[in-house]
Symmetry: C2
């Protein structure tokens, strides 16, 4: 049942804690199964990868068929509705333009005693991109993961996508082609993650794996972490709308449903200073659900995880929003700008009545891979920084080394690391 809370009621603090702690994801214990799959692919390579794909995806294939050919990709691209194709191309242009501004700059300087300190950024050479099959096989997610990698300068971007019974979403291949993905393989699950991490005859290993997946994929990413880098583990999507009396209830209802229709634990919360708006939105959600072609998922999501919280002041809403730390925060307010700077924990903030969250999902230009499950308290959305790494550069003149020698030797000795100190003093004939 959708939660209705008011900060004026006596049990509010406890009810809010319960809402914060609510678990929205079925926890499936698949660690051992996944470990066995990874060990198998690591040992038997392509042979295991093919057997597992046959078993889990209900299809036959051989090593030569693991990789999509250029012709197959081209054919899929042509099969996509031209309107969708040009929408993907618009999204590609806008996402690329925004992410180009995220490229960090190298910096080198020499300080007053002659020590040169530098930070140099280089792209991760090879990256794997996991794309789910079936219902959650979203071309927009291909763009959102692939574009920052390509903007960063990743030379080899290898995508994997399962094709149950041989079926693939042509729009996913079209998005990959538009984004410049270098290789695409028709494999998925933990076996695909293992192949990317350790390599097989057909799939060369990568250094980092990104992209969403089911419980098996998430477990596999956790297990190969260390051998390769991984991105964050994505949880169910969520939106928090902060609205005052100037908000349009029908628009807010539409935004809440746009989140609820994802299913799988997706959560929509309305935080408002206006009790009348709260009622109007609630009624409007019910009305709009009835007009959806496939209302069941949205209805179930809203009923199970939705919440409407009324508060006395916008400051109170801000304080609660910072505790919720939502993936998406919409500010449907008369004066949203003054609130933006006070929202500290959020993956993305959507400012004003004319910025529905869906704009950020597709063509706004920003990334839609954002921290979920309160992780906006400590994590950022996906971006160019996820595909580069910084190397520190340090250089001393003989004089600088001499100036720093006594302190280095003192600390090395205090830590019981005599040879550390000697590596300095030996250069100074001390």
């Amino acid at each position: 049942m959708t939660a209705y809370l008011s900060s004026a009621e006596p049990g509010f603090a406890q009810a809010f804690e319960t809402l914060l702690a609510s678990k929205r994801e079925a926890s499936v214990e698949v660690g051992e199964t996944v470990a066995a799959i990874i060990a198998d692919v690591r040992k038997r390579g392509d042979v295991a990868l093919i057997e597992l794909t046959t078993k889990f995806d209900g299809m036959t294939l051989d090593a030569a068929g693991l990789r999509f050919t250029a012709d197959e990709i081209e054919e899929a691209y042509r099969a996509v509705d031209p309107d969708v194709r040009s929408a993907l191309e618009l999204a590609h242009r806008r996402i690329t333009a925004h992410h180009q501004k995220q490229m960090p700059e190298d910096s080198t300087y020499t300080d007053d005693i002659g020590v040169t300190l530098g930070s140099r950024w280089t792209a991760v050479e090879a990256v794997g991109l996991y794309v789910p099959g079936g219902l959650a096989s979203y071309p927009s997610s291909v763009l959102m993961n692939a574009i920052p990698a390509k903007v960063a300068g990743v030379e080899r971007l290898a995508m994997v996508v399962p094709t149950p019974k041989g079926v693939v979403n042509p729009a996913v291949l079209a998005a990959a082609k538009i984004a410049g993905v270098d290789e695409i393989y028709r494999v998925g699950g933990a076996q695909a993650v293992a192949a990317l991490a350790f390599g097989t005859d057909t799939i060369k290993p990568v250094y980092k794996i990104v992209g969403p997946g089911n419980a098996y994929v998430a477990a596999a990413k956790r297990q190969v972490f260390g051998t390769v880098g991984i991105d964050m583990i994505a949880g169910p999507s969520e939106v928090l709308v902060i609205a005052d009396s100037t908000a349009n209830p029908a628009w807010i209802a539409a935004d809440l449903l746009a989140q609820a229709e994802h299913g799988g634990g997706a959560q929509s919360i309305l935080l408002t200073t206006d009790a009348d708006l709260a009622k109007a939105v609630d009624a409007e959600v019910d009305r709009q659900i009835g007009t959806l072609r496939a209302p069941d998922t949205a209805r179930a999501g809203w009923n199970e995880f939705g919440a409407i919280i009324t508060v006395a002041t916008i400051d109170e809403a801000i304080a609660l929003a910072n505790r919720i730390a939502s993936e998406h925060v919409e500010l449907a307010l008369d004066d949203p700008q003054s609130v933006v700077e006070k929202i500290r924990n959020a993956g993305a903030i959507f400012v004003g009545h004319h910025t529905p969250e869906a704009i950020g999902d597709y063509v706004g230009g920003s990334n839609h891979v954002l921290p979920t499950a309160r992780s906006a308290r400590f994590a950022s959305g996906l971006g160019v920084l996820d595909f580069v790494k910084r190397t520190t550069i340090l250089g001393c003149t003989p004089a600088a080394l001499s100036e720093l020698a006594d302190a280095t030797v003192a600390l090395a000795e205090a830590e019981g690391l005599q040879a550390h100190g000697r590596s300095v003093s030996i250069r100074l004939n001390r």
Copy 2:
């Protein structure tokens, strides 16, 4: 036995692969023990934390004694040798100055169709810092972890350090005081990580946990990841020295031993174009080991994990270095600058004959928490970016929303997300 390889020999490719794949860490399976400890602290809070500390650290304490008092910290600070204290203060100034340059800048712009796109950085509010007890209780590591957090603007930095039998390294407390750590608790192990992640009556929860630790600590960090953020899992330290005939064998030997004396799987590798240098360094390592006050760890480390590789050209050395992706790379070369830009995978590069790696460990100014075990292929050293997170800001004018509407609806429909499209069209009366 120290490995001696030459790229000119027929079995080199295989021998190099073996070196790359060699495991330098005892893998201890502690997952279940750690899970039980975490569950206990989560359930019973301070009571469990105290019981476990009594059991593992061999000491008695009560809730009031969990936290070091200001007087205790001040007393420890005064107990530290003044030379060490001023070395810590020099290190603090230099590390702070360098990390201040890492603070990312906010950026907001409005594009040609009226979409405002922003990236705003805010500090993680509360961070936990794990500091090992016993032999590896290094004051320099306290500085390296605490300073970037404080430069980033972390308001609450809570440190935990186990004090077996009640003994603590005063220099560790002094470093914490110098770095501005806000709270220090005398607890360690998985129980300390659990307390930081979930909170107890005495220790408020944090949003991110950083710092090195033993296998239990590493496992605990992995298990609480998601509830809180964590830094990378640190492996044994390593150095790769690239040297030509201009290098001084005694200096290189000292650098190799400075790494080997860490023990615990630490690795030193020399890559050189000069076979005579290789021999001279080898002899010099043997000679210098004999002059150390405590030679056993360095000797064992060099014998078990050390390697000397001779190559024909510097370009060959660079190619191998990029595959090794060492935490530390020293360039003991006549012309190191021309090589710096070709080393792509390295945590830090130490340029020229007068820059021993130990300078970077203490007072160079850069961070000594760097990616190990080949993870420099995809990861960076610790820095200010690890203590901030980026929030995306998106704002549309009605005209901008209208311009992006068709593409958004086309993509939403292609992905079967009707309510996403409607959240846009409803605002445009479409």
